[in-house]
């Protein structure tokens, strides 16, 4: 069993080490993207005309191949993890900014009016009312951004072996070892599913106030019981 997870020595990591590295390289950019997206999205909500051109810019950035990004960045950040993570952070913006803007805009007008009328200042209103109500939309954006980031990290293999599980895939191909290829591909997929599931759990935890569709469940149960 231990042989299954044995790694070629040139990867300089155990399998779990590679998994941890992969997660770090995938998720730090998403967090950085979220930190940038929050104020940018708020700016787009306040200054309405800014949103369409900004969306256009993020989409164009998303269309730039990561390889081209790396070539430019190598001059500044070298063959490092940072070079891999910067494009990933930029890519996450294309999902996160619209997610937050739509989420914040979906807060009902009367809720906002009530908050203002009760004496909430703009900042307090944003943090205590708009963001919590936008949470489901923001987490939905985080799910897409995280999963795509996890799959994109592998490309880092092209610059100085910074691809984590992507490096493993490369090793498997060059040493002609299907075991390593499987470990890489299945590992990446499992990571993506786990992170996605964690975010779903997080959403359930932070939104006890959302209708859970209990009625539907009880109806299905009733139908099943009737069938019996």
């Amino acid at each position: 069993m231990t042989e299954l997870f044995d790694m070629p020595s040139d990867l300089q990591h155990s399998y779990l080490g590679l998994v941890a590295l992969h997660l770090r390289e995938a998720l730090i950019p998403v967090l950085a993207g979220l930190l940038v997206a929050l104020p940018v999205a708020q700016l787009c909500v306040r200054v309405r005309w800014l949103y369409p051109p900004l969306l256009w810019v993020t989409t164009v950035l998303y269309a730039i191949p990561s390889l081209a990004f790396f070539v430019v960045l190598i001059d500044y950040t070298g063959l490092s993890e940072t070079t891999v993570m910067i494009p990933l952070a930029v890519y996450s913006l294309v999902v996160l900014v619209p997610a937050i803007v739509d989420g914040v805009r979906s807060v009902p007008q009367e809720t906002l009016a009530a908050a203002t009328a009760m004496g909430f200042g703009p900042l307090r209103r944003y943090v205590q009312v708009q963001l919590p109500i936008a949470a489901p939309a923001i987490i939905a954006g985080l799910r897409v951004a995280s999963v795509s980031s996890i799959s994109l990290v592998s490309v880092g293999m092209l610059i100085g072996n910074e691809g984590a599980l992507g490096n493993l895939l490369n090793s498997g191909l060059s040493y002609n070892q299907p075991r390593l290829v499987w470990l890489s591909v299945v590992g990446t997929a499992v990571l993506a599913v786990l992170v996605d599931a964690l975010l779903v759990v997080l959403r359930l935890l932070v939104t006890p106030w959302m209708p859970r569709g209990n009625r539907k469940n009880t109806r299905t149960r009733a139908v099943k019981e009737a069938a019996r």
Partner: protein, 379 residues
């Protein structure tokens, strides 16, 4: 007192929402702003808590210009209730109600204790405290909205069409509840609605506004119904204002007759004794005195009264508490043309004919006229 002094609201595109409006809103009473959509009533309300800033004119709260106060302090001193309640969907009912106390820096426990107290005051069951807004009905949400507005015990309550989005039965309940709460708390309430019936029912004073932000008339509801200032107000009040005005005339003065009432177990002599010439019908009651229905005297045989064959008696009115409008409605509903008066336990206390009600109405009108003349002479 809130004093609105020749206030105008003009938007950058030139639209005038409110035009040189002056109003004195008395303390501890309900002032209703009513009018068709686009008459500037909501704009006027929102200028009182500075959600809209006037272009010209001033608004004074107890003699002080509201422009001179920090805006959030001003808003926290005024409760605000809107259509659909505008509850925070992400907070529990208790935390929704505790919002303003928390903003004012009260402790968590004190705020929540206060919130519980208010849930009781507005008629919400304590078991709802930990629920979220989506789990409540529209009427319950609106009660939470009222409780939230009252939480910090503000002297002023601003209500913007708060009951428009609920069904008529629930709306009536909420209106009655508001009147009851107002009796207990005596807030200065400014209430916006497009529904003239709601205005007449709730308002101590009613300001009728017309499109373009002009004040058409500012008067107590009874005066509005009896003396509309112009054709616009008359039209806005609707076709049956005469009938509706009867809501302001008490039924206490009606001469109730007890002679045409017989119990279902009455003897032949008792029936004969009740059969008097001036009442063509007899009201049959159950042994406890609750009305069952009408019958012609000759159809009644002692010991064999079939309750199923009696004529319906419509909807009885409460003698003394209900208005002449309720009494008249009752008489019109009954096929016999007679209204049945009941006490709090539902026992028939008397019957009265349409004719007698008509006389009472004429009498009440005559009395009002004398009052009006007296008022005009007095100052």
């Amino acid at each position: 007192m809130i004093r609105i002094d020749s206030v105008t609201k003009r938007y950058p595109d030139g639209t005038v929402a409110v035009d040189r409006l002056s109003l004195e809103i008395p303390d501890r009473s309900i002032t209703v702003l009513v009018g068709p959509s686009g008459c500037g009533k909501t704009t006027t309300l929102r200028m009182i808590n500075r959600m809209v800033e006037p272009s010209e004119g001033t608004i004074l709260l107890d003699g002080a210009d509201i422009q001179q106060q920090p805006v959030n302090t001003l808003r926290r001193s005024m409760g605000y209730v809107i259509q659909n309640a505008g509850l925070f969907q992400h907070r529990t009912i208790l935390d929704n109600i505790a919002t303003v106390p928390r903003l004012l820096g009260w402790g968590k426990e004190k705020s929540r204790a206060r919130a519980r107290e208010l849930m009781e005051r507005v008629g919400l069951d304590g078991s709802l405290a930990k629920r979220y807004p989506y789990q409540l009905s529209g009427g319950q949400q609106q009660r939470v909205g009222v409780a939230r507005a009252l939480a910090a015990d503000p002297p002023v309550l601003l209500m913007d069409e708060p009951f428009s989005a609920v069904d008529p039965v629930v709306r009536k309940g909420l209106q009655d509840e508001l009147l009851r709460i107002q009796d207990e708390l005596g807030k200065t309430i400014v209430f916006v609605t497009h529904d003239i019936d709601e205005a007449v029912k709730l308002g101590t004073m009613v300001a009728v506004m017309r499109t373009g932000g002009h004040l058409a008339q500012f008067a107590p509801p009874a005066e509005l119904l009896s003396h509309p200032a112009d054709a616009f107000v008359e039209d806005f009040l609707g076709a049956d204002r005469g009938i509706r005005r009867l809501s302001f005339f008490p039924s206490a003065g009606l001469r109730l007759q007890t002679a045409p009432i017989v119990a279902v177990d009455a003897t032949a002599e008792q029936i004969a004794a009740h059969d008097t010439a001036d009442a063509p019908y007899l009201l049959v009651t159950d042994p406890n005195g609750r009305p069952l229905g009408w019958s012609e005297p000759r159809d009644l045989t002692a010991g064999q009264i079939e309750t199923g064959r009696l004529l319906p008696y419509g909807r009885p009115f409460m003698a003394g508490t209900d208005s002449l409008r309720a009494a008249l409605d009752c008489a019109v509903l009954s096929p016999t043309g007679w209204a049945v008066a009941v006490d709090a336990e539902g026992r028939a206390t008397g019957v009265v004919s349409q004719q007698a009600i008509g006389e009472a109405i004429r009498g009440a009108h005559a009395e009002r006229r004398t009052d009006d003349t007296a008022q005009k002479v007095a100052p």
